[in-house]
């Protein structure tokens, strides 16, 4: 199979097919052949030998934010579907409505604004708390509060949208 993988801002093409010996793969990275002997020790844990160098690899993150530990090093990557490369969504720019996302998983302690309210840039919008640390999330820009999804006492995941400023 052919995969397009983005690591450290660079996209690499990886061609991977099972070899004759189970665990030994025929691999090409950007066309260059690589001798790779990979054994799955248990789900998400891999022993990878490349040209006799040994790597312990542990899968981390989730499908929306995949990463792996190569030895001690955490490396984020992105599996690109070659067919959908052009349709990749751009991050929301300054032109459209700005969304305020939770910077950490936690519980909503206070909501400091109301829907429809006019806010200044850097004005506090929501306070979330986790592990004895409170974090005040500030408006990315001046504008009007289009939507407040955060509800005091509710649990939010990291990256969850708490409010929209337009």
């Amino acid at each position: 199979m052919k995969l397009q993988i983005e690591i450290s801002g660079r996209s690499r093409q990886v061609q991977i097919d099972p070899g004759e010996i189970p665990g030994v793969w025929n691999v090409r990275v950007d066309g260059e052949p690589v001798e790779a002997d990979a054994r799955l020790l248990r789900p998400g844990v891999l022993s990878l030998l490349i040209d006799r160098r040994s790597h312990r690899v542990v899968l981390d993150g989730d499908s929306s934010d995949p990463a792996l530990y190569l030895g001690r090093e955490r490396i984020a990557y992105r599996m690109e579907d070659p067919r959908s490369l052009r349709s990749r969504r751009r991050p929301t720019g300054a032109e459209g409505p700005a969304v305020l996302k939770a910077s950490m998983p936690g519980r909503v302690v206070r909501v400091l604004v109301e829907k429809g309210q006019q806010v200044a840039a850097h004005q506090g919008i929501v306070v979330i708390e986790a592990m004895k640390m409170q974090n005040e999330l500030k408006s990315p820009r001046e504008g009007r509060v289009a939507d407040v999804r955060a509800v005091p006492g509710a649990t939010v995941a990291s990256g969850e949208i708490l409010a929209t400023i337009e």
């Binding site: 490396i75 910077s103 592990m131």
Partner: protein, 506 residues
């Protein structure tokens, strides 16, 4: 004479790694360990490993681990002889210690009176004066007004430090470098102290420049014997919170150790202190030491002392609480080798040290020679967002400081915590920093390090290996019909379940 009474059942009024630490000591002394838990901790490791477990209440600490009345009711139902408070929560709460005694349950810690005398920083400074201990110049009582603050500051000279009398964790603390800054610092320190501790009492002391934070472990029995167990170097701090601790300290020689130890013992005896405690000092660049405060409980960092002394402090805490005399004298205490501890936290150093609760999807733990791990997690555990972010304490012991550092680096490289972010990589960076390796540290060291540029990211060779690994995961798992990673963040799923009223574990 103090009557001895055997302890057979201990209720552990805590959670996380310290609850497991105490639980293990109980097992080793043939004492039944009894756990308590909040709704967030039903599946926590300390519940799993205990003999019995009692529910306290909902997740927030104020409704569970801080509810002394509910804990005492559990102790009664469990027929516990004693309560071990661990650290944090109710461990330094004199009212709780008194309530235990009233209920006929031994509180494993100092008497409430000693706790009260040493728990307030201003009262502790007065006690230090009475014990003839060096302390920083400054007030020994709360400042009544800004005027009083001005006059004390003027008499000792700037820079000065404002501190909360009930303080801890750096809250209500302000460094003031000139008189014009005093007014606003005074107000903000007072209001922060009021919010954090319910008391706005602040005092003022001379600011020691580039100090080391060095503390002395003491043990006192109920027969009037008190000994010191060497020092711990705790200067590696972020925002006044200890991050790495070690013993011995590179700047403490036998003479300084003896003098600091004697001062600590004098203070403890004067305060009628019993059980384990810690006297904290600042040590300046000329190796003068100044009394800082007393922690009237077991410390997070007690393992480094255990490793270099060969003793078990929790065993000794329990024996002291039984009324037994200390089984050895000061001259029997010998430090051997070097120990260093890392506080492993669920936090993201690459994102402003934001907390990172959630499910631990993968856990590879270090082991082998000279490694001790006091761990409070397991693979599959959902680290709750309700308590502090400590996951584990990783401690290395070796004949010398250099080898202890090398061993800790080795262990950190073996350690993988997947699913959530941790500060393991941050420790790897510190333990390769030339200043840390040369023990050129003070309490400002870590903040200076954090202002330095990060070391370069992964190499091209690593990236290629990572690409192959990612491809193998994709190839094996798409063959098995499952996606490479979990379809939804385990944390998100858990959070949703929790939000919908269900518990994280079905």
């Amino acid at each position: 004479m103090v009557a001895t009474s055997v302890i057979r059942r201990i209720l552990i009024a805590n959670r996380g790694e310290i609850a497991l630490r105490v639980l293990r000591a109980c097992r080793e002394l043939d004492i039944v360990p009894i756990a308590v838990y909040s709704d967030a901790d039903r599946a926590a490791p300390h519940v799993l490993e205990a003999d019995e477990a009692y529910r306290l209440g909902p997740a927030p600490a104020t409704e569970s681990y801080l509810r002394g009345d509910v804990i005492l009711e559990a102790a009664r139902r469990a027929r516990a002889d004693a309560i071990h408070p661990g650290y944090g929560f109710l461990s330094e709460n004199a009212e709780f210690a008194e309530a235990c005694e009233r209920a006929g349950v031994k509180f494993i810690g100092p008497p409430a009176a000693a706790m009260r005398m040493l728990g307030s920083k201003t009262r502790a400074r007065q006690a230090a004066d009475r014990a003839g201990m060096p302390r920083t110049p400054g007030s020994v009582q709360g400042l009544a007004s800004l005027d009083e603050a001005r006059s004390v500051a003027a008499s000792i000279g700037y820079p000065v430090m404002l501190k909360a009398a009930a303080g801890g964790g750096g809250k209500g603390m302000r460094a003031v470098f000139s008189e014009e800054d005093l007014s606003s610092a005074f107000d903000s320190a007072r209001s922060e102290a009021e919010r954090a501790f319910g008391s706005g009492e602040v005092y003022l002391e001379k600011l020691i420049e580039r100090p080391r934070h060095i503390e002395i472990q003491i043990l006192a029995d109920e027969h009037g014997h008190c000994i010191s167990l060497g020092e711990r170097e705790c200067s590696v701090q972020r925002r006044h919170q200890k991050v790495i601790e070690e013993s011995p300290s590179a700047v403490v020689d036998d003479d300084l150790r003896r003098r600091m130890g004697e001062a600590a013992v004098r203070l403890a005896l004067a305060a009628g202190y019993t059980n384990a405690g810690t006297v904290e000092f600042l040590v300046d660049q000329n190796r003068n030491f100044y009394f800082l405060e007393v922690n009237t409980r077991l410390q997070v960092e007690h393992p480094v002392t255990e490793l270099v002394t060969g003793l078990d402090l929790v065993h000794l805490q329990i024996r002291i609480a039984e009324g037994q005399p200390l089984p050895f004298a000061q001259s029997d205490v010998v430090l051997r080798g070097h120990a260093i501890e890392c506080r492993v936290y669920a936090e993201d150093p690459d994102n402003g040290f934001m907390p990172s609760p959630g499910r631990i999807t993968r856990l590879l733990q270090p082991g082998g020679p000279g490694i001790r791990e006091d761990c409070g997690i397991y693979e599959g555990w959902v680290v709750p967002m309700d308590y502090d972010p400590m996951l584990s304490k990783l401690v290395a012991y070796a004949p010398t400081r250099d080898l202890a550092i090398a061993r800790l680096r080795r262990a950190l490289d073996e350690y993988v915590i997947g699913g959530i972010r941790s500060n393991l990589g941050f420790f790897r960076r510190i333990l390769r920093d030339p200043d840390f390796c040369a023990a050129r540290i003070d309490t400002g060291y870590l903040d200076r390090l954090l202002r330095e540029a990060l070391p370069p990211p992964s190499s091209n060779a690593s990236d290629a290996a990572a690409a192959v690994a990612a491809a193998v995961f994709e190839a094996t798992q798409s063959a098995a019909g499952t996606p490479a990673a979990q379809p939804v963040s385990a944390w998100k799923a858990a959070a949703r379940r929790e939000a919908s009223g269900a518990t994280p574990h079905p």
